[in-house]
Each structure stands twice: as structure tokens, then as C-alpha cells.
Amino acid sequence: MATAMESIAKTALGESSVTASRDPARSFQDMILTLHDFWSAQGCVILQPYDMRMGAGTFHTATTLRALGPQPWNAAFVQPCRRPTDGRYGENPNRLQHYYQYQVILKPSPSDIQELYLKSLNAIGIDPLAHDIRFVEDDWESPTLGAWGLGWEVWCDGMEVTQFTYFQQMGGFDCKPVAGELTYGLERLAMYIQGVDNVYDLAFNTAGVSYGDVFLENERQMSKWNFEVADTAALFDLFAKAEAECRNALSAGVPIAAYEQAVEASHVFNLLQARGVISVQERASYMGRVRDLARSSCESYAAKMTPEWEAKYPGWSLV
């Protein structure tokens, strides 16, 4: 125990002395830390990942639920994303069933949000006169969350590196005010910056640890589990239980807990998809059920919070 504490203390001490020499061009983790530094300096809350399996950073309550209501909210965090059907047993240089997104949520969207974003790219080593940066139309819609927004996919020399969205609706409610959401594809960006063609060759840090060292075996085993092993009867059961628990939480007036169950149901559904046991028409019905859970949770959350929001922001109303 004492040694562990010592090493933590050492790291903490060491970190402050190496901050200036972060090397986002040669280290995946330095790239993340650089983004943390950047967005922290912009007044963002730097959060840790949500401790649940989810398909996208947007599912994080810091994005979905905080996009509701009038209160300002600025946050940045890494979110591991699980996409069971994208698993390739560690054999594809680009596709992973588990990867990282870097999410920034700025509410209300600042008028210089594009400039801020471009500065953050600069911070991690992308010079916009050396690389062709483009904002290409890409509207976002998540029927599951009752949400949509307008924005772009940001291209760097033809590669999509970020999703940039102005949320217009969330949980079926108009966003008042609108939040700007930035979602960086961290592995892609790092591969680009490090000049690496295979994700597993990425340098995770500058001490010789590669992305493959960290994740290759996980990809192999998790791909096998996602596609071949996971007990489908248990998954169907889990789905039903998450659905029931979501309703239970809703009726008890704890919508955040309900929302977690919706996220759980969504991921279990993705696993069932990967196992190939959901037919086309069942698919629509399952998606409808997940959508109901997520929307009900958002609605219930908004309804629960509205008195507080209205009190703090006179004149504001949910609808």
C-alpha cells in the first residue's frame, strides 16, 4: 500500500514537471492530456468516462441530460465507446469494437466555437496551413435519444477526425439554449498525427507502450465474445430486466437511474445484434423499445428539473 501511494505521489510530482514537454505527436496519452489542458483552460469541467458500456460519447449524461435545461454547461471527457459489430478480432488496422471518443460539450455554444476547435487541433500538432481542414455538412440525428442537430464532419486531408454538432433537440425537447458538441475520434487523430497506418502501432506513451500492447488482446477476446460466445438467452433476459428497471426507476421519480438502464438496454441490444439473433423486423421493434426508454428518461428528467430551472431562469420554459 505504501509503495502504491509513493508511486502515485511520484507520478503526480513528475507530471507537473513534464507538462510542458507533452508530446501529442508521439504519444496517444499526451494527445489526450493536451486536449484536457486545452479545454480545461477554456473553463470546461474535465470529467472521467461514464462507468458504463455505451456506443458513443453522446450517451454520457454530461452530454444528453446536460443538453436539457437553461443552465450553462461546459465539459470535456474521454468516453470509451463499444461497438460490438465493429470488432475485427484485432485483425483490421482501423476497426475496433472498443475505442475512444473525446467529447466537448459547450452550452450555450460560444460564438467562437469553431476557432476554439481549430486551436485545439493546433495544440495537438495539426497546422491548418500544412493540412487541409474542412467542415463538411453532416447532420446528426439520434432517434434513440429523440435528438437531432446540424453541423459537420471535420476533415483533415480527407479524413473525418471530428463530429461537430449544434444540438437542436434532445429527448424530444428544443434545446434552449443550443449546445455545441465536438466529438474527436482519438485513434484516428493519433494515427494521423503519429503517421501510423495501423491503430495497434500507435505509441500509447513515450515510454515504449503501444496501443496494441494495451488493447490488442482485448480486441481479440471481446470480438470473439461479442460475435460468438455471449449467451444470447442471458442477453435477452438482461434487455428485459433493464427495460423493467428503467420503468421502475421512472415510476420512482429517479430519471437519471432510469436513463442508465436505457443506456444498458441500448448496449445489450447492440450485443444481440452482433450475435446475429435479431431479425430485421425485430430490430425495428427493439430500437423502438430502447427509444421509448431513453425518451421517457429524458422527459422525466426534464420534468423533474423544470421547477428548478424555471426558478433560476425566470421566463424560461421547457416547451
Partner: protein, 729 residues
């Protein structure tokens, strides 16, 4: 006179919206000017990803003064009316003028400064702008009332000559300052006046003319290809799209690994175009080359870096594609087709494998019946494999390659060319501009596929309603029509649909040709049978819409549609009819017909009416019975015995009918519709004369009955060519 510049600067406008936005801006601006009584000499519009702009030349500095006259109540009208009018115009009674016993209010409107008009116009245009999708943003979006724009609006330039037209909207105030290129030119750019706009921005690395950027891309890309000894595959859609993505376009050529060329060229081109917006190139032999042209938005420090980045992205995409291409060929199409059993076509219509089974039977039957002159075995073979590529990896990734990939895999497998082509093209024609297949085997499969879709969705009552057509049935019907018309396929839609129901329900055969259990739900089959009637009308209805677009009057289609559902013949008849009814003879004959029909209707002369005193079993003198007519070979050769001497005009009509009716009927029978119309034309003078000289409603019941019968025969002779009661006018 002054020149006006308006620039609306915002975050990146989607490329696809820019051309229309230019038009909308010009229109809204011109309309607003016209409303204010102003007109510009010339309006020019500009669009880049970050700005929408307009220059209006030679605007007057003020609107002209006008005096507006408003008509009021009559002199002596109740005082309330006068008071109301005075309130409305804002005058008092002494200020009204009186003319012809009516009060008029004349309000003098002085001219207004153009700048003042513009200051009102600009916010109004912004608020009214018809973006296909618009959004709210920023702190102001705390209410839903906040300004909407395609992406956040960040600045307005409004300059009348050298002066700022001051206006504001949602906290954005007009000025003369804009921004140059996002990366090449940081800091504000001031515009002196409209005349300086284009060149000032060019100096700031922005080419504001959309068409100039298009030209730079079109020519630059072609030049880059030429310098590499290649020819650019021209793609105007890509030119426009890239022009909408750049303010300073720089086409750059890159190479990709030659090994990717094993993948079909369409796949490479599609990957490059759709995913990356790259052009592709051909070598001197016209074969796809291992080169692409991307369009950067910067003069990069080192263009090779940009090209290399793009090359990597394309390589990743192409290696996915090559992986799919190789993976898919590890199975035959027949093996892939087994996977269709897992794909639901529609929850009430079974799997895609079930659909394929039906299409295979229909395609074979269409050939066996001689409706399509294809080899039945090949048609069935192609039909059985036509959907197999849906379960291939490649089509999973690029759904738009459905059909095409099946064709490639079939050819690779060594299947007959007709089969490979039919698999490739059986979705055609997809849209209005798409080619219609002509190869018989392809036609059979394509037609079978579409008819099956239509029959099945009608059977489960999933018909299009209003704007909703989730299964694209209107398009399928239109494709059927085009296949039939452009290939001259001859069959009755109604009876064929009926027979097809039986064809579908025929027992399945397995690989060895053994009869096996028919999986098709019996209930579905019954419903297909009952649905086919509605479908027949649906197809005819689509024909009407299609023909309307081609300039054929819908009432004329209606006039023959009940006669015939052989689409080729129906249309020939309609064309002849349209040519006829627009002639003087046609118009007059129609008038005569309508008069005859009205009289018959008034007299209650319906299809059941018979001449008094005739045996039920005897020949129908009225000729009203179409069946009787057709039993007689479609001829009105009934000898008319009159109990009185007909008047000359009556006799003339009888004679004319006797000559024209068989001529018309023969012509119709032989599909010489112009001749049938010509035969009808000979009735025009006699029927006109008959109505002028003969009284139908004679006191003599015999005469009256005989003349009504004559009119009925006239009507029926006309009817045998077309139902003139449907024709308008």
C-alpha cells in the same frame, strides 16, 4: 444611382445548398425591391462555404413619390361606412375627392431613401430565407424565437456605394468588415464598396464567384490529370460539390496502389466520389487509372503532405473494398442466395428468398407466355440469383452497388452473359432518367421483380397514400410502364395480373426439379388475387401521371382507359385521340357527341333500354350493347328498318354511320387508330346537320324512338373508339 453590396457571413454552408441559396437571395431581394418600387440594373449573387452575397447595380437613391388612390363608399352611403373608410385611410372628410358619386381618398406617398428601404429589407430577407434546414445557436437560443440560419450567422456587410446601410438582427449589426480565407488570411477584411468586393476578397484568398471556383476545379483537375498523362473522368456533380466546399480550391493529383485496380472500377469510383469527393482518372486506353484528384482548400505549405493524407484515407477505404471483393468471391452467388432466407422482405411478405422464388416463377412465365421474348431457363436462372448480392459484404458496405456487384460476381463465376447482365440490370429503370433494359432476359427479370413487389404490397394493403409511399410503389409502377412501353410488350395488365397470381402459387421446385412444399402463405395468395384489381387501376393511374408529364391530356387517357389495358395499344389510341380532338372536326364531333349523349341521358336511354316492340331475343337495334357489338365483329351492320321515311339529314346520318361505324371498328381492331379517328371525322358533318334539321323529340313515338336509337348508335360507334363522355371541353 448607386451599387449595393450585401454579404451574409456564416459558418460553413452545406455545399449542396449553395446554388439554390444564391437563387433564393436574388429572388427575395428583387421581390423586396419591387415591393418598395425600386429596381436594380443588375443583380449578381455569390456563394462560398462561408458567405452568401449579392451585388445590385444601379439602384436609384430614393423611391419615387407615388399618389395612391383608394376607392371609398358612395356619396350618401351610411355615415358609419364613411367613418370606417376615413379611419382606414387616415384622412378627414374634407380631404376626400368625389368622382361619379363615389368618394376617393388620395394619399401622397413621398419617395423614401433607398438606404432606409434596404435597412428594412435585409433583416426581412434573413428571417424569410428558405433554407432546407435551419438552426438556432449561441446564448440567444435560450428561446426558440431566436434567429434561425443554415449555420450560425456571424456578420453582415451592407454597403450602398461607400456607405454602410445600418441594420441589425439578433445582435448582429451591419458594417463593412468581413473575413478572408479561414487559414490563409487571419484578421478582418474591410470592403470599400460593391465594386471592390470581389478583388478585395481575392486578395484575402477567397474566390467569391461560385462559377469561377467551378472553373478552377474543372480545369485544374483536368490539368493535373493531363500532367500525369491521364484523362480526368469528368463529373460535374463533383465539381459543384467541391466548389461548395472551398473558398480557394486547389486540385491535387495523387496515386493509389495499383493493386487496388483488381477491384471493379465502379467500386473504386464510387468509393472515391461518395466518401471522399475525389475525381478519378483514366489512362489512354480508357481504363481506370490508379490516380485520384482531390480538391484542397489551401495552398498547402507542402501539397505532398495533403496528397499523402488523402491517399491514406482512400487506401483505407479501398482496402476495405478489396477485402469485400475477395471475400464475396469465396462463395458462389447460389450459395450467397441461401442467405436471403435470413432477410425479411417485409414482415407480412416473408423473406427475400420467398420473393426470389416468386420472381423466378414470374420471369419464367413471362418468357413462356411470349410476353417477353427471352429464354425461360435463363430468365429463371437470373431471377434466382438476382438478389444474391444483397448478402455480400460489398453491397452491405455500398448498397448503391446492388445489382452491379451481382453482375460482376456472376461473370467471375462464368455464368452465361445474359444471366450476368440480367442480374446487373434488373433494378433498372430506377428513376425517370434511367435507361430501360432491352435485353429480353433482363426485361423478364426486371418486370417480374417489380410486378411481384406491386402485387404483394397491394395484397397486404400497403398502398401509397398522399405523399407517403414507403415502399416506392409508384416508382415500381412507373418502371413497369416504361419497361412495357419502351420494349413494346403486349399484354392485358388486368388479366395478366390475375394469371400471375396462379403462377406465383404454383408449387416450388427444389434443385433437382422435384416438387416441394409451397411455403407461400395461402392467405397471402388469396389477398394477392383480391389485390390485383386495385393494382390494375394503380398502374393505369401512374400511366396517366406519366403521360401528363409528357403532355398527354389526362381526360383523353380516361377516355380510352376503360377500353383497354394493353398499355402499348392504349397509348397508341390516346395519341391518335389527342391528335384528333384538337382538330376542328374533332372539336365539333365532340360537341355533337355531348349533345347526343345529353339527350339520351335525359330520355333515360341507358344500356338496358331497347326499342319498344322488339323481342328480347332479337338483335339489339340500339346497338347499345357493347357485347353484342363485339359479337358482331365490332360492326354496326344491323339493318335498320324504319316505319317512316326519314328526313334527309336523318338518312344522311344513317348512311354515314353505316359507312363509318364498321370502318372505325375495323381500324380499332387492327390498331390503326388514326384511321379510326378519320372514320369518326366523317360523322362530324352529318351529326351537325342532324341536330340542325331534325327534331328528335317528335310527337310520333316511333320516330322519336328511332331517332333516339340512331343517336345511341352514333354514340356507340364513337364509344368503340373512345369514351368521349370522359373528354373535357
Amino acid at each position: 444611382m448607386a451599387d449595393f453590396l450585401l454579404e451574409l457571413r456564416c459558418e460553413e454552408i452545406p455545399a449542396r445548398m449553395q446554388p439554390k441559396a444564391k437563387e433564393d437571395l436574388a429572388r427575395l431581394f428583387a421581390d423586396a425591391l419591387a415591393k418598395a418600387g425600386l429596381a436594380a440594373g443588375l443583380i449578381e449573387t455569390f456563394a462560398t462555404p462561408r458567405r452568401l452575397a449579392l451585388i445590385a447595380k444601379d439602384l436609384p437613391l430614393a423611391t419615387t413619390a407615388v399618389s395612391e388612390e383608394t376607392k371609398g363608399p358612395k356619396v350618401g352611403a351610411p355615415p358609419q361606412a364613411l367613418e370606417g373608410f376615413l379611419r382606414k385611410v387616415g384622412l378627414n372628410a374634407e380631404q376626400l375627392t368625389e368622382r361619379d358619386g363615389v368618394y376617393f381618398a388620395v394619399v401622397e406617398k413621398p419617395g423614401r431613401d433607398t438606404a432606409e428601404v434596404l435597412a428594412e429589407t435585409i433583416p426581412a430577407i434573413i428571417r424569410a430565407f428558405p433554407w432546407p434546414k435551419s438552426m438556432r445557436w449561441g446564448a440567444a437560443s435560450i428561446t426558440t424565437e431566436s434567429l434561425r440560419w443554415v449555420r450560425p450567422l456571424s456578420g453582415i456587410i451592407a454597403l450602398l456605394d461607400d456607405a454602410v446601410v445600418l441594420c441589425g438582427i439578433d445582435g448582429i449589426v451591419s458594417g463593412r468588415t468581413t473575413e478572408g480565407h479561414r487559414f490563409h488570411h487571419s484578421g478582418p477584411v474591410d470592403i470599400a464598396n460593391a465594386g471592390a468586393y470581389i478583388e478585395t476578397l481575392r486578395a484575402a484568398h477567397v474566390i467569391v464567384h461560385f462559377s469561377e471556383r467551378c472553373k478552377l476545379i474543372r480545369e485544374g483537375a483536368a490539368k493535373a490529370a493531363a500532367e500525369a498523362g491521364l484523362t480526368l473522368v469528368a463529373d460535374e456533380g463533383l465539381v459543384i460539390e467541391n466548389a461548395g466546399l472551398t473558398e480557394w480550391p486547389v486540385p491535387l493529383l495523387g496515386r493509389f496502389d495499383e493493386a487496388f485496380l483488381n477491384v471493379p472500377p465502379e467500386v473504386i469510383q464510387l468509393t472515391a466520389r461518395v466518401n471522399q469527393k475525389y475525381f478519378v482518372c483514366e489512362d489512354s486506353a480508357g481504363k481506370l487509372a490508379n490516380a485520384f484528384v482531390c480538391t484542397a482548400n489551401i495552398d498547402a505549405i507542402d501539397p505532398a503532405v495533403v496528397v499523402d493524407g488523402n491517399r491514406k484515407v482512400l487506401a483505407a477505404r479501398l482496402s476495405d473494398a478489396r477485402f469485400f471483393w475477395e471475400q464475396d468471391q469465396k462463395k458462389t452467388l447460389a450459395e450467397h442466395a441461401k442467405g436471403l432466407e435470413r432477410i425479411t422482405f417485409h414482415e407480412k411478405l416473408g423473406t427475400v428468398a420467398d420473393k426470389v422464388e416468386r420472381v423466378a416463377k414470374l420471369a419464367r412465365w413471362l418468357c413462356e407466355e411470349g410476353i417477353v421474348a427471352g429464354n425461360p431457363d435463363l430468365a429463371e436462372h437470373a431471377a434466382r440469383l438476382c438478389k444474391a448480392d444483397l448478402v455480400t459484404e460489398m453491397v452491405g458496405e455500398f448498397p448503391e452497388l446492388q445489382g452491379l456487384m451481382g453482375g460482376y460476381y456472376a461473370a467471375k463465376e462464368g455464368l452465361p452473359q445474359e444471366v450476368a447482365e440480367a442480374i446487373r440490370d434488373h433494378y433498372k429503370p430506377v428513376g425517370q432518367g434511367d435507361d430501360v433494359p432491352t435485353a429480353p432476359v433482363t426485361v423478364a427479370v426486371s418486370l417480374a421483380d417489380k410486378l411481384d413487389t406491386l402485387m404483394c404490397f397491394f395484397a397486404i394493403d400497403e398502398k401509397p397514400t398522399g405523399s407517403k409511399d414507403p415502399f416506392a410503389l409508384r416508382r415500381a409502377a412507373l418502371s413497369v410502364i416504361r419497361l412495357v412501353l419502351e420494349n413494346g410488350l403486349r399484354f392485358s395488365v388486368d388479366s395478366t395480373l390475375e394469371t400471375m397470381t396462379d403462377v406465383i402459387s404454383m408449387g416450388r421446385r427444389d434443385d433437382e426439379g422435384q416438387a416441394c412444399r409451397d411455403d407461400l402463405d395461402a392467405l397471402l395468395l388469396n389477398e394477392i388475387a383480391s389485390g390485383s384489381a386495385g393494382l390494375h387501376w394503380f398502374i393505369l393511374d401512374r400511366l396517366k401521371v406519366q403521360q401528363r408529364d409528357a403532355g398527354i391530356r389526362h381526360d383523353l387517357v380516361d377516355a380510352v382507359i376503360a377500353k383497354d389495358d394493353d398499355l402499348v395499344r392504349l397509348l397508341a389510341r390516346v395519341h391518335a385521340l389527342q391528335a384528333f380532338v384538337t382538330t376542328e372536326d374533332g372539336t365539333n364531333l365532340l360537341a355533337g357527341y355531348k349533345r347526343a349523349a345529353n339527350i339520351l341521358k335525359k330520355e333515360g336511354w341507358d344500356a338496358q333500354s331497347r326499342l319498344p316492340g322488339l323481342d328480347p331475343g332479337s338483335r339489339s337495334l340500339s346497338g347499345d350493347d357493347e357485347e353484342a357489338g363485339s359479337r358482331l365483329g365490332g360492326r354496326d351492320d344491323v339493318v335498320v328498318q324504319l316505319s317512316y321515311t326519314p328526313e334527309p339529314a336523318e338518312a344522311a346520318l344513317i348512311d354515314a354511320l353505316a359507312a363509318a361505324a364498321p370502318r372505325a371498328a375495323d381500324a380499332v381492331g387492327e390498331e390503326r387508330f388514326a384511321d379510326a379517328m378519320a372514320a369518326l371525322a366523317t360523322l362530324r358533318a352529318p351529326i351537325d346537320r342532324f341536330f340542325e334539321e331534325v327534331i328528335v323529340n317528335d310527337a310520333d313515338a316511333n320516330k322519336r324512338a328511332a331517332r333516339l336509337a340512331l343517336l345511341a348508335r352514333f354514340r356507340n360507334a364513337v364509344h368503340r373508339v373512345a369514351d368521349f363522355s370522359r373528354i373535357e371541353g
